[in-house]
Symmetry: C3
Subunit: 653 residues, 3 copies
């Protein structure tokens, strides 16, 4: 197994051509193998419509290649030049109020706009024709951070037209749609597809089936947009195709986009994400201000390993303070190294830093890089060099077989958003939050986790499958579960909606084993912040509880066990053979109790880790990461703040 | 006196026709007498313009009638079908930014749109012609929940045109309007009525007189819209006309709409309202999470008894968790019964539950009913049956004569909104909040209260009249007060504006007795949260205080008493003969002190009730309601949580 | 030195002509010398286009003049009449969503609209021609409160057109602009000026250089608008020209507008500002609820002394409760007097009260005056009369030479807004807050402070110059600093951007002495609320810290001193000769420690004042102001709440 490699993001168009060669040389000296270029350079490649200036890019590729670097070439479709709007004035996405989201930054296009999709295909074709045969163009990045800045949902005319065609394709005739959506309610029935508008700005909430289809339609446009490019690139290049996903972006189905890629990658900004995208108490945010959440990166590593079908990269790794979060502190010394090794321990084939040198102008001028704008290296560069050196002395090894699979499903994310039914600290109850809560609890037990797609067909590798909040169960997963003999944990809201977003005729949970055994969710309740429902033995439910009705018929009774009860007597955790249902949103204590019980049932070894410590195994190595700002002693090992410790599992474990 | 009856809301169009008969039979067995249907069924009655399908509704009415049920038939004007927009594309209401509020839910019409008003009259006429003669159509509901989802104030072109005509009608010529509004200020004078725009999106706050007239205009459109339907229905049917008002909806004058109805009704969702519409501390919201606020339902019961001129119903009673509040818990066992008896003790002739069976699709799929979507009864049904059984063993009796009248005035609500002058927990000071604060304090003294209209002409039935925050006094009420000898309490802001929203020439309070005696409000102050002004003897003012100037002339002096003083020496509560003025917004302690003093003055008996207990009398019965989650002992009576206790007043009291 | 005089704002058009003479007489009796009129009277001067009614104004001026009053005549351009919109329907400003900000209040014009600018010039010309020669028209006020209600930034078509022309003027060709803005980033390059839109509604944040130029453009329009009027007025009148600025308004450059005026003035509403515009803890807001912030007024006094090049007034002084703040309490007795003397001690030549009599209608009907709407004097009038009387017995004296200059710069305000990089209690980090934090700390040391423009060319009068957060250093100030030998304090963000909003090539701080000595800001960090970085010896940084790199070359080393260190060892306060750099946002303790150290270095005497006490000297007098609600004893002097104490410096100090 080859060790992972390092990379960097570079913008030759931002720097004098005279410096390119020195920069390339310095990259190689720092141990960098991959260099990503080109993804925002359209206005320099095609400064006027159909008038091209390829030569500078030819030379940049040549200089970098000559230094021995492998090039990741980006298609520049995330930043169409200003003249594109003269051609297609209606290509902009529109916000929920219908206002166009104007030129002047990036991602200023609506995925539904056919004119822009032709333009994106055209520039991709031209780049592929010109560079596809070059051996040093060793990978292609398609577009950049789909959905960043909330750019998937667009309320434009193009989206309205596209949505109507998509609905016609899906339902065939309007009567079928009316029935599927239940439009008889409130006399919402349509006579023709061209009467259907986008589900924004309705008087009160729109039909959830209407919204859910719009979410699916919108995701499909991203998949199609991406596929139009990958189909072209595959004609001209043998190099792997990559997209760089962004952290906690859920408005399109990453697995589906991943189907058309060879490698998944993501952009990892631990400090920015902690401030911007994670629900944690103030005290936790303060504690991890310079380290990032101890589980957020690992979650995405494991997610994109699934999206990339095993092959994945970190395309952009935060090297210092960024510019875009509400608060932008610097990482603790050592964190850049820690983040890098953590990615590698989770199977990253490559970790690439954003960016080689901080740019002194425009939007990201306060975003640090491996060098300051004056060319002086930042502390991150020394950490990169250290990682490069250390990589010579260890063999990180291939991905371990995890005992636990955790399902993450984009459709369930949309379902919870469409119908949250409750709030938490002023925001709608969120599926990502729930899954991440489980992920974090599993990691605190020292477990290796695989995140799996809801379309997974084979679960036999796992001792335990965990699927919290999975609103709709795919045929594939349902089939796989029917023959699975390991421990399964589901609930709440599991199998609670049909594909049309109806409550199933025989009520939830529509879940193998449970339904047959006569388990029914009688009703659900959302709870205000501050209210919690105690469970016998310790821990509470919060935010969400469900009332379970358990069949008392003789044929069912012997199968059903009530494993935990609420103090009010109601069932909290039940099981039917190997399948467990947790009837609510557990707090940390209850969740840990459940997971410990299930680990015992599944014969999974675990260890209660000290606060801030995380473990990840590869096939033959074990890595310990100290995410806290204090030294940790664990099993006679002392690990400094931001420290990484590794050992060979056969010897030490 | 006949006992009240029970009802239910039912949607035959949602269920297979084969089930109607069984449903009807089950209703009757549950003790249900009334069934409301049809109010959202327009797209099934008239699926294409002028093409009708009445037959299914004919059959539904027949099946229900044959089972012995009385039918409340709704006009379907709250949900015009989608094709209506092909006819009248500009019929939608517009929000404050001028964006149309689109099709896709309900109430998607602007009250000012003449085209839609013709359509509403047309369908009403057709329904009245077809069903008005049927004896089993025992009541008509006009439209559904006027103003729900903030649908009275519309900033559409239709509203602008209508407003200009209304102003022309009101003022005659533009000079009169300019003077009435004081448009000389800031050079806001108009030359022509057609220069006047709606008071949205002005640079800074618009003229309050301008806004006040727009509020009146908007309310008048609801009254006119409703009257257009009631005028038609009265031509074809002898059955009573009803509208179902919604809790804490104040954007139109309910009394005025009530003038055209035979029975007022309202939709009572105690748990949804607690989360969504009531300002209470977090701890109170947690304490009453499964019971609702102990006074909010009673307030509306007493309000709609006034609106209905004595005749009123609960048209929709919450039976379990709903879907639309931020948090949606289930009621404590027994609460559905408690809410029902409480309504009846306040004089409801009928209590109807929403809905017979939970619908598994569309917007309200998470709104529970008396049955689950799979047809299994919910706990609420057993409580309904218990109520039905108990109604056989008691005679609830007719409405008691209350000793206290509390004025609630929609124009004052608008006045406070137009000019709040202060905030409370981030929201403008609110008239409803103040009146409800008084109502709640009166109820904690065990008092029966009548809410009365500001147009009331006869007060002689009451020992005490309370009118907090009444900004403008009607001629009727002013006249009634002049001859009234009971105790009157008013203030703050009482009589502080003319009809044109000017400060009166001789300053507030423009109030009988007070003004003549030389009482003047010199200035008012709003106070930030956390600041309170102590009053000698206990309690504080918060939010609002007034500086009173008391005439020292000999002819006035002997009439004026300073009943309470602020600790800074200023008058807090004063009286002139029987008329009291409280110069601020009292906290609970001060309010109770004032009310106790006034009860003594008015010779009203009261009792300090334990927390969570409420009392309501009928002519011969007394009902005790335990709104708390703990048992309460009161006068040797033990009442369990959610418990109702009653006794005959002559025997036990 | 003549003592300052008193004035009042009066609206003859609001009151019966019969009363004018009595009002004028009463003004004179109260000691009032100046009366401001006319600034909102356009609809009465020109009720129809080109049809004038000057006569009432002629008579009003005559009546007031005959009483001996000096008249400040306002141009009425802040309130164009409604018919103006019939002429120029597109003259309205647009908000950030592009919605026109409609007629119905005031300031309903876009500064970029050439049509309206012609109209404003036309009415100014006519007024100047008619009244410019009158000796009793003793001053002119141009427009009213520029920028109030957020009216400088407009996203209208007029603004877009104007901005493009302004950019063409500034940059000459589009390539220069693309380079200046760094538009190569994200392919944002333009081909033509007419492709550039306003920087609103972009997908994510727009280019900060783009925004910064729009801020400059917008400020320039105010300057030009004002200049168009002053140029006209100067042709017809010898009287001084004034504008009344509003508190904490920063969207245009007040110094530049001031260049065209003879006298600066501002509108001082201490209680309104405390609630509306000052970031202070809840406890402080409660403590000063009836007094206002102890430093906010003084800050503006000192600011407008600079803007007016020594000559300044208070044009509108709050006399009682106002109507426009979230909370509107009454001042503590004595505060109107205190505010007046405080202004005079800071050099105000005139203090004018808003308004003579409270108006009983329209938007400001709840705004108190020197009389109630019924004509009865308010408590403020007695305080005004007392001031008038006291002015006879003291000689306030001319402005003292302050030892400390504090730079306040509008461009830096925009720079921080364009790129805050961090938040504080949910709002972007703000330059005004930082400068005011310093101002307040200086005042707590009993110091007299001059606020100076960033274009100041001569600093020799000062012992110390303080310039926190000054993002860009003007050539003038840079030049002045190079020869300045007093103590200088700067940082953080000092000299951190070029004029084009780039990071300087050799990194910040671009500041005389520091850069040459090899001081470099390596990186900056913003910190979340609740996180603070302790400094050795006491105090903390919060919100913002900077990492300093100090040259270790022999030629620099001996010049650089590290005066304070963070507890983590990093430099906190450094100095190179007389220039100090504070590397972060200090809390109050750290700030005071720094200032004490610098005062010692600069040989400035200070005194630690008791809480709520403030001192201000004139040439020969010292004034003590007790802003607290408790009596204060200071140096054997007892000062009651809201009390003012003065003594002759030569005798008592």
């Amino acid at each position: 197994m080859k060790n992972p490699t390092l990379g960097v993001c570079y913008y030759p168009e931002h720097w004098p051509e005279a410096n390119w060669s020195d920069d390339a040389q310095a990259m190689v000296e720092a141990g960098i193998v991959w260099v990503r270029i080109g993804e925002f350079a359209w206005s320099r490649i095609e400064p006027q419509p159909e008038a091209f200036e390829w030569e500078w890019l030819d030379r940049a590729i040549e200089v970098l290649a000559n230094a021995g670097l492998k090039i990741i070439l980006g298609t520049p479709t995330a930043t169409p030049p200003r003249w594109m709007l003269d051609r297609w004035p209606d290509m902009l996405a529109c916000d929920e109020q219908g206002h166009p989201r104007k030129f002047g930054s990036r991602r200023h296009y609506c995925f539904s706009h056919w004119g822009y999709r032709q333009e994106a295909a055209r520039i991709t074709q031209l780049m592929a024709q010109r560079y596809g045969h070059l051996s040093h163009v060793s990978a292609w990045q398609v577009d950049n951070e789909y959905s960043c800045h909330d750019t998937v949902l667009s309320y434009s005319l193009a989206a309205q037209t596209g949505f109507r065609l998509w609905l016609k394709e899906r339902y065939g005739d309007i009567t079928t749609l009316n029935e599927a959506w239940g439009n008889i309610f409130w006399s919402m029935e349509y006579d023709r597809f061209d009467q259907i508008e986008l589900p924004n700005q309705t008087v009160t909430e729109p039909n959830p089936s209407h919204v859910m289809d719009f979410r699916r339609y919108s995701s499909d446009q991203v998949v199609a947009f991406n596929r139009e490019q990958t189909n072209i690139l595959k004609q001209y290049s043998q190099s792997p195709l990559v997209h760089n996903y962004m952290g906690r972006i859920t408005d399109f189905d990453h697995y589906e986009v991943g189907e058309d890629l060879d490698i998944a990658s993501w952009d990892s900004y631990p400090l920015g994400f902690l401030e911007d995208r994670i629900k944690q108490p103030e005290s936790v945010k303060q504690e991890y201000m310079r380290q990032g959440d101890p589980d957020f990166q690992a979650f995405h590593h494991d997610l994109y390993r699934a999206v990339g079908k095993g092959r994945w990269w970190v395309m952009e790794q935060q090297p210092g303070p960024v510019n875009w979060a509400p608060f932008n502190p610097a990482p603790l010394p050592g964190m850049v190294r820690l983040w890098t090794f953590e990615a590698m321990a989770h199977g990253a084939e490559m970790v690439s830093y954003f960016r080689w040198r901080q740019l002194p102008f425009a939007q990201e001028q306060m975003h640090s890089g491996l060098h300051r704008p004056d060319g002086v290296p930042t502390p991150a560069l020394a950490e990169v060099k250290q990682v490069f050196k250390e990589l010579n002395s260890i063999d990180i090894g291939s991905v371990v077989e995890a005992p636990v699979a955790l399902v993450f499903d984009y459709e369930s994310q949309w379902s919870w958003q469409v119908q949250p039914q409750g709030y938490r600290e002023g925001e709608p109850l969120d599926y990502f939050d729930m899954v991440f809560h489980y992920y974090s609890a599993l990691r605190k037990l020292g477990l290796n986790v695989d995140i799996i797609s809801p379309q997974t067909t084979n679960l036999s590798a796992y001792k335990m499958v965990i699927a919290p909040g999975l609103v709709t169960l795919s045929k594939n997963l349902s089939h796989a579960l029917q023959t699975y003999s390991g421990v399964v944990l589901c609930g709440p809201r599991s199998g609670s909606k049909t594909d049309n977003f109806h409550i199933p005729d025989d009520l939830p949970p529509c879940w193998p084993t449970l339904k047959e055994a006569g388990v029914t969710v009688s009703w659900v309740e959302s709870l205000r912040d501050g209210v919690s429902i105690p469970v016998e033995g310790g821990g509470h439910f919060c935010h969400w509880i469900e009332q379970l009705e358990l069949s008392t018929s003789p044929k069912h009774k012997s199968h059903i066990a009530i494993n935990m009860r609420r103090k009010d007597g109601n069932a909290a955790l039940i099981s039917v053979d190997n399948v467990y249902y947790l009837a609510g949103w557990p707090d940390s204590e209850l969740l840990q109790r459940c997971l410990l019980a299930l680990c015992d049932a599944a014969d999974i070894e675990y260890t209660l880790l000290p606060k801030g410590l995380r473990i990840r195994d590869t096939q033959h190595m074990q890595f310990l990461f100290n995410y806290s700002a204090q030294p940790i002693e664990y099993q006679q090992i002392n690990i400094e703040p931001a420290g990484v410790y590794w050992h060979c599992k056969n010897n030490n474990n």
